[in-house]
Every structure is written in C-alpha cells, then in structure tokens.
C-alpha cells in the first residue's frame, strides 16, 4: 500500500516536474519525507569533575554497584545519544570493546553501559573483560508516529570483576559503536 501511495505521489510530482525547475526542487522535498530515514548520534561528554571523559577509573561512581545497576541509576555519564527517525520501530545494535590499558594490553576491564531513554526507561549492556560485546535492543519509541526523536544519557559503570584498585596506571581506551536499523 505504501509503495502504491509513494508511486502515486511521485507520479504526480514527476509529471509536473517536467515543466519547471521550481517543481524539481519540490520533488526532492517530498521524497525526503517519503523515504525512511534514521540518524543516531553519540556525543562524548567533555571531562568535568562529575562526568565526561577521560575519567579516573578509581572514581567511586564508576565502580560496580549492583543496586544502582538494577535500578538503572548511578554510573558515570560518558556521552549523550540522540535518535532522529521516521520509523515506528527500530533496533539498536551494539558493538563494544573492553576497557584496555594502553600500557599493558593484557589488562582489560569489563563494564556496563546504561542506556537511558524516555523518562525512566533504560537498558544495560555488559561488556566483559574477556571480549567484545555484540548485542541488540529494541527500545520502544516514546510515541508512534512518523517522527521519533529520542535523546538521553549514556552511563558507564565497571562490572563486578573489574579490579580497578590493582589495575596498572596510565591511560585506558575502549570503543562503542551503536547501529540503528529500521524494524525489529
């Protein structure tokens, strides 16, 4: 049905387009809305005393806290994320690497990401020290409709196995990639 509708729209537009250049620009405007599109953006938080990167791995707020994790609270704000899409459902796929000492690549620390969305909703992603984490989630958009706009915080918390007190000094690095895909 949608294809038929789109075809009809383009028929109308394309048939008039031929006449003037002005209508040609309208064609692009209409097509932009007809196509499904999505955009996810991760923006790193600049370092402050209470959030951002790089952060001190011995900071108490990044240590594992089972109660906070269960409630989706606590942790260290490392980034904000935003989604702009005109889809009613989508899937978020995560590919994340453990936190690794730049001085000693054998020293890896596992962690949780707390992905907050809507008002009180969240889901967590565990990235173990032993390897990368590849998983997916399907957060419900705040409202059904042609346009979804979501944005909120991405929090970081070490997992229960991370021994930050005895970890080597120096820099630690990791990476997170989130892919937004249409549908479930």
């Amino acid at each position: 049905m949608r294809r038929i509708l789109a075809t009809l729209i383009s028929l109308v537009i394309c048939s008039t387009l031929y006449a003037t250049t002005l209508l040609d620009s309208r064609l692009y405007a209409v097509n932009t809305h007809v196509d499904h599109y999505c955009l996810i953006t991760l923006t790193a938080e600049e370092a402050t005393l209470s959030s951002g990167m790089p952060f001190d791995i011995t900071e108490s707020r990044v240590q594992y806290n089972s109660a906070n994790l269960a409630q989706g609270t606590g942790g260290w704000k490392i980034a904000t994320w935003s989604i702009e899409a005109n889809m009613n459902s989508f899937t978020l796929s995560f590919d994340a690497q453990p936190f690794t000492s730049a001085a000693d690549e054998s020293s890896k620390l596992g962690y949780y990401l707390i992905f907050k969305y809507n008002t009180d909703d969240y889901f967590t992603l565990h990235v173990p020290a032993t390897g990368s984490a590849v998983t997916s989630a399907n957060p419900a958009p705040p409202s059904a409709g042609p346009l979804t706009s979501m944005h909120k915080d991405l929090m970081f918390m070490f997992d229960e196995s991370a021994d930050t007190a005895n970890a080597p000094s120096g820099a630690y690095l990791g990476s997170i990639t989130i892919t937004l895909t249409e549908g479930i």
Binding site: R2, R3, A6, T7, S10, L11, C14, S15, L17, Y18, N31, V34, D35, H36, Y37, C38, L39, I40, T41, L42, A44, M53, P54, F55, D56, I57, T58, V62, I78, A79, W81, A85, M87, F99, A103, D104, S106, S107, L154, F156, T164, N166, A167, P168, S169, G170, A171, Y172, L173, G174, S175, I176, T177, I178, T179, L180, T181, E182, G183
Partner: protein
C-alpha cells in the same frame, strides 16, 4: 508517452528506497586513566655489579701504563664496566632517566675527560627505586704509549655509599663500540632529545657534558617479580684526543664518573 516513461523511471528509482532498511551508526571512543602512585615503584631493589671479564689483564693493584703524550687513543672501550640489575613487583611501567657525567679527576675536579657509555639491556627491563652508582678508574704509570689502551683499574662501584665491588680488573679493547643486543624489546629512550624505541639502535651517551636518557620500561603485568640487567660499557671519548692540546689524561690519578638513575612511576 513521456508521462509513462517518467512513471517507469520513478518506479525504478523509488523501489530500492523501500526495499533497503534505513540504518545509521555512530561510534564513541571510551577513555579513562589511572593516576600513577608511589606504590607503582614500591617493592623494588637495585643492584649494581662490576663485571669480571674473561679478557681482563693485570693482577691485583697493578695498572697498565697510560702515556698521556699520545693523542690517538681512539675508540677504547671498557666492555662490561658495570651492570645494574633491577627487580620489582610493580605492575606499572616505570620511567628511568639516566644521567652520566664525564670522568672527573678526583684530585682536581676541573680536569675532566669526556667518556662514552653504551648500554645493552640484557633483557626487557623494569627499573625501580632511585639510586646512584659511581665508578672510579685509576690510571698510572705515565709516559708509556700503547695502542690498545689497556688498563687494569681499581674499580669501586658504590650504591648508597656502600661499596659493591672493588679492585675489579677490566680490559679496554681497541676499536670496540658495542651496540644494543638484538632480541631486546620494549625499550625506549631519548638521546639528544630524540626518542627511540628500536632496541637495535646503538645507545651511546657522550659525556662531554651531561648526557641524558629516558627509558620507559614495560609493565610487570601480573608476574610476581620481574628482574632484569642492563650492562654498561664505557670508554674515553675518542674525539677528546683529536686535539693534542687537550688530549691528556694525568697518570697516577683517580678519575670518577657518576651514573645517576632517576626512577619514577607512571
């Protein structure tokens, strides 16, 4: 006919837009740090050792003649003059700055003789704990020339004012310039401000002035103890003898040179 053609074209163009699901990706680099602390270089010991070489000559307190009138003492090497062995349980990388001084006449500190040091890490190294190591070379029996500049000095190595070894005979071989031993890895340093990480590059310190080197040593990881040895060779800087007016070493004098290691955690 044109409209029909346009319809066909637009169908062809629009169809793939609906067939492919929309996707978007974004990446984030995680970054954190852990401050270094004094504990990073705790539980370390440093031992300074004078080598006894198979090629030594001389006996006891006898010393080979050095003729201070000869101005062609090029490339004389004191192989394996001393070694520094470090053991540590540190899990963190340790930075080592090495300062070497010229030979200084201990009776008249205004008289200095430039020296060249080369060091050869025997194995990947972890240094720790600040210490000073001094070596003193006695040269006597003047007015005798020799091409091989062999001396049997009285060597005193000190660590924290305690003698580690003394009266060690050492041979200075002619035309010997040692370089880093192959197979050594994870050693970086600076020479004249330029950082090097290739362990196969000769590490040479000319002590006409104060020579500096910074070495970043690998972390211990989870091993309970890491021990390593770095050997130092030293010789008189041959360029010193290129100027006959300066190329003098007073015989029957003690000359001292100081090696200072400054250790810091990361």
């Amino acid at each position: 006919m044109r409209k029909i053609l346009l319809l066909i074209i637009s169908l062809i163009v629009l169809s793939p837009l609906y067939a492919d699901p929309a996707t978007s990706s974004s990446s984030l680099e995680l970054s954190g740090f852990k401050e270094g602390s004094s504990s990073s270089i705790e539980n370390t010991t440093v031992t300074v050792t004078a080598f006894t070489s198979d090629t030594v000559i001389g006996r006891g307190n006898e010393y080979v003649i050095l003729d201070d009138t000869v101005d062609n003492f090029s490339n004389y090497q004191l192989a394996n003059a001393f070694a520094i062995t470090i053991s540590t349980t540190s899990k963190n990388p340790v930075n080592v700055a090495i300062t070497l001084t010229p030979f200084i006449n201990l009776s008249d500190t205004h008289l200095t003789v430039p020296a060249v040091y080369t060091y050869r890490p025997v194995e990947p190294t972890v240094f720790s704990a600040p210490t000073n190591a001094s070596t003193y070379i006695r040269i006597n029996n003047r007015n005798r020339s020799c091409n091989n500049f062999k001396i049997t000095p009285s060597i005193t190595l000190k660590q924290n004012n305690s003698t580690v070894n003394s009266n060690t005979a050492i041979t200075v071989a002619d035309e010997t310039r040692l370089t880093l031993t192959q197979g050594v890895s994870s050693v970086s340093y600076k020479y004249n401000g330029t950082p090097y990480t290739d362990a196969f590059v000769p590490t040479e310190y000319n002590s006409r002035g104060t020579a500096l080197s910074t070495t970043t040593l690998p972390p211990n990881g989870n091993s309970p103890t890491v021990s390593t040895t770095v050997r130092f060779d030293l010789s008189v800087d041959p360029s010193y003898f290129n100027k006959s007016s300066q190329g003098k070493i007073l015989a029957n004098q003690y000359y001292g040179s100081t090696v200072t290691l400054t250790i810091s955690g990361t």
